[in-house]
Symmetry: C2
Subunit: 449 residues, 2 copies
């Protein structure tokens, strides 16, 4: 059932009333991902009742984890501590540890202390993994069976032990809980009844460590078209699995991070982020850019005398810098994206740089010639036309080389190419653009007028 105006109205009415059975019935029919959209339509009292109702139908954690973090934090503030403890106790461990990670430290510790010790220890363990690691992404509910079971008993176990529709692989462990193989449900179903799992399982399993970077996990899963990848400890103990739907989220987040990086934005700066937080986030970037702009102006200032003599230079200099900037950004984008998506499996760095420079130079010759002619027609000065043409060609050479080389170097030195390149390349290109245009113009003024 989809969420629509009618059933939103019904749910809101039922939240106020006492008929919890009808409410449960309707909530059971709607996907958790859709239910999460309801929160923004409810007042504080309704939110508390809605969380209760979701907990009663076992959909609270699924619905809550779909919310943007700031909204979720707001909701947690509205729920009383004891309710939160209950939620964290009955949610899957990985969800609970995610929820805890959103609370401020003091509150998290307070709540952890109210949770029963075994679970508390396990949650603390999950929280100890670094952010953006497999340990944080993994689900700890894994269906495991002993590799010594016979196929038919294994099927019986599947029948009895799991309500989950999404059991695709069964992980086989030895007596000490070490992962020794994996078997697809299909292979299990089609195996002769008496065969032990150890004979039908696939023994070479691709695994990751809990500290493996999320990005790396996403690459593995998408490269091999896996549905899930197991996370194991140093001693091969099975800790959890990361499923392909987690990987979808990782890839979406990574794309956002890449897109954001070139604009100097932090990943948690979204349309719904509080203004204060966004300002704090963006201010350092703006100040950095201000400093760089002043530096670039310093280059322009060197030529104030030349500009005084021929004021159209002041009018035209941003054309050179602007086109250079565009060349740089196009090259940068292609190379950075190539680094992110593995395109460099199919071409060497050297060849890619050489190609980008060829492309940049050709575009520089084309746009430089156009600009030269247009400026000549507009301002009537052949010398200025020639100066703009030559400086644009030089500038695209610089822009495309910088745009291609800088991200590759950053990657070599294990820096994020998306984050650092943009501002570096643009500043260099702008400075060089102004310098070459005004510099060549100074020489031209000296010899041709």
């Amino acid at each position: 059932m989809n969420l629509n105006a009618t059933n939103i109205a019904i749910i809101k009415r039922l939240l106020g009333g006492r008929n919890s059975r009808s409410l449960k019935a309707i909530l059971l029919k709607i996907e958790a991902a859709d239910l999460s959209k309801l929160f923004s339509l409810l007042n504080d009292r309704e939110i508390r009742l809605f969380v209760d109702a979701l907990m009663a139908v076992d959909k609270a954690s699924d619905a809550l984890k779909e919310l943007p973090p700031p909204n979720l934090i707001e909701i947690f503030k509205k729920i009383d501590t004891q309710k939160l403890v209950t939620l964290l106790t009955y949610s899957p461990e990985d969800d609970s540890s995610y929820f805890l990670s959103l609370l401020d430290e003091e509150e998290a510790i307070q709540i952890l202390n109210l949770i029963e010790p075994t679970l508390r220890k396990r949650l603390n363990q999950l929280l100890s993994y670094p952010e953006d690691s497999a340990g944080r992404d993994m689900s700890t509910q894994v269906f495991t069976l002993s590799s010594s079971l016979r196929a038919q008993d294994a099927i019986e176990e599947v029948r009895n032990r799991t309500q989950e529709e999404s059991v695709y692989y069964i992980y086989c462990t030895d007596e000490s809980g070490r992962l020794v193989g994996v078997i697809s449900l299909r292979a299990l179903v089609t195996a002769p009844a008496e065969t032990p799992l150890s004979e039908i399982m696939k023994k070479e399993v691709v695994t990751v460590k809990p500290t493996t970077n999320s990005q790396k996990v996403a690459e593995l899963v998408s490269h091999y078209d896996f549905v899930a990848i197991p996370v194991v400890s140093e001693t091969s103990e099975l800790l959890g699995i990361i499923t392909v739907d987690d990987v979808l989220d990782i890839i979406q987040e990574q794309a956002t991070a890449d897109i954001y990086a070139t604009a100097g934005l932090q990943e948690d700066d979204r349309v719904y982020t509080k203004p204060k937080h966004s300002i704090k986030n963006r201010l350092p970037w703006m100040l950095l850019n201000l400093m760089l702009a002043i530096l670039v102006s310093g280059v322009v200032a060197l030529f104030e005398e030349t500009m005084s003599q021929l004021i159209i230079l002041a009018t035209l200099n941003n054309i050179v810098a602007g086109i250079g900037g565009n060349t740089a950004i196009q090259t940068l984008t292609v190379v950075t994206r190539g680094l992110a998506t593995g395109d460099f499996n199919f071409i060497s760095y050297y060849k890619a740089i050489f190609k980008e420079v060829r492309v940049g130079l050709t575009l520089g010759i084309a746009t430089g010639t156009c600009a030269g002619i247009l400026v000549y027609l507009w301002k009537g000065s052949a010398v200025v036309g020639a100066v703009i043409c030559v400086s644009m060609i030089l500038n695209s050479l610089v822009a495309s080389s910088m745009g291609a080389i800088i991200p590759i170097l950053l990657k070599r030195f294990n820096r994020d190419p998306a984050a650092g390149s943009g501002v570096l390349v643009t500043t260099l290109t702008d400075s060089f653009g102004f310098f070459s245009f005004l510099g060549i113009a100074t020489l031209a003024l000296k010899y041709f007028t």
Copy 2:
């Protein structure tokens, strides 16, 4: 087994020799996705032999489809027509239609004519779906069973009919081939032997049409955490399924398209693209930018007289435009990404615009004040310092409003906000930046000096 220097050397040696059994044995052990990386290390003769060997172990289409399109086209040129026909005949239909879509039209028709009529008709059908539609992405090998079968017979069918490890859902059809339900392998395994599928299947199935946009399919699958989604005709006939690994590819491509759009790049312009193709792709964008830069210069030209009187204005004007541009791009990026990832499910357009303008204005006041003070210290002119401060504040107001409003408007009118916004917003901000700075300076010169 992973691909490494040792087994690359072994494969290359075996390709030259006659021992096809050892070659097959080694190829069977390596994942198709890894085998595809080998192509770039082989010469023409080896490539032909390698394709033969891959076909012999039934891995040709899986390995080939991992290659970047231009590389794949090159390889197809090296294979003789009859071999290509064989490859297309024995590959999964969706892979074959993808391969055909890469060939130029004449060649595709020639090859289609050599393919046996039933398959040809089906391939033509697949090729008739629009690009970036579910019909192009779907796999046509779907495991279907009649809904009247009993659970135990269904398991028998799974055993007999499929070698695929990746059967997660079984689609149930009625006598006329219409999709009537879906059942997970787990539910099938755990159902009592005599139950007909129609009693255990889930009857409410989320489906898409073959013409549904790929982006929409990706949203559905990732929103609901599906492993696969069925594609049905207008009459509910089951045409194929799209699996989550296809969705991973769609999301990667979409991220690339979004990142590329703001830089005016086409999606097929990659590090390995031929220079000629990249130049043709990028030239229109560069020329558009040249025209816009000249337009912006037209604004600056209005103030040549003012600049002649006070040449430091020419030095400083790019600071105002630069900082405005950064404000615009940050706002634009946050809003565009919000539109792409569904963040607007949790905030209204109106509130988001208001927030961005508040943020932009605050940043403008901060950077404007800094710039004013620095310019006063650098150039010793309080008037110029005040002018730069005021114009930067005004410009950030304009930049953040434009950056927030334009992508939302484009989305409203069903245009791609990522593609159109950047250049529009930057041009407006640059023009306004120069206009306000030089305009206010002109007024200031008139009254304060």
